[in-house]
Symmetry: C2
Subunit: 137 residues, 2 copies
DNA sequence: GTTAATTTGCAACTCCGTTGCATTTATTAT
DNA sequence: ATAATAAATGCAACGGAGTTGCAAATTAAC
């Protein structure tokens, strides 16, 4: 499984350090998006700045993407393999108002928007809020 | 015109203090959304906490709504008259990557999203990024 | 006018994100 | 293999946004 992790890092041209392997492993195990503060908590021995820079590196190289759910700190989730984060590849995100977890809805692409004349579109971000299947019971 | 402002405040059951009139006046003059830090800058004599609480009061009473454009501080814009901020009344927002201004696209409703079974939807937020008509020339 | 309730101003504080810099670790050249 | 170079990490500190407690001032109610 460490091979799988290193493979993932290599495929995005990120040098596989111990720290990076740890962070990626943790993110692969989680179903929901994770924030820097959460990461700090879960890898308590690790330094905040290092984790911060790790996330930034991952994001720059499109291994992960950031999600602004308007609810506390910025969250991060894994990109799909080979995703280049082009507008047509983007999906919507779901933020549960009960458990506060944020999920990628990879099956639901971001909506197509026709802007008024003279506007130039580069990206669309959609966050849906509500109660997730786990919390709705 | 002060009458118009007080009328707007009254219609949302907000007591018209001098501070609130000033903030509302400023927001009515602006075409783009405004953040707390910007408000502080433009009403330099006013206190941050007061402006903060003014915005919170306005928001609670649906005179304004907040916009999380993922680009710096939270921004606020006027609601349409009689808007109750129900999901079906919501519009999308546009954030210009050049001038950094954020606009309400009141004519473009938020997209309809069908969530997977078991999910309960309460709101949809869509932010479009790109270059606005002013900056595109 | 006096009392009660609301609003404002000031100070302080927390949290998140970010940076500078020294130290350590990895890579490359000799 | 060793020295020189580059990259990553750890520690400390900082700044901005958002928020709160509390006292003073303003407004509303009696």
């Amino acid at each position: 499984m460490n091979e799988q992790i290193d493979e993932k890092l290599n495929s995005r041209e990120i040098k596989p350090t111990a720290m990076r392997e740890l962070v990626l492993k943790l993110m692969m195990e989680k179903l929901s998006a994770i924030s820097l503060p959460e990461l700090e908590e879960q890898l308590s021995y690790a330094d905040k700045a290092t984790l911060y820079r790790t996330l930034k590196t991952f994001e720059k190289n499109k291994l992960i993407h950031s999600i602004n759910d308007g609810n506390g700190p910025l969250k991060y989730a894994l990109c799909m393999d080979d995703c280049e984060c082009e507008p047509e590849e983007l999906h919507i995100h779901f933020s549960c108002t009960v458990c506060n977890k944020t999920y990628c809805l990879n099956e639901i692409p971001v909506p197509k928007i026709s802007l008024p004349k003279g506007f130039n579109l580069t990206s669309v971000e959609t966050v849906v809020k509500g109660v997730c299947a786990n919390c709705i019971s």
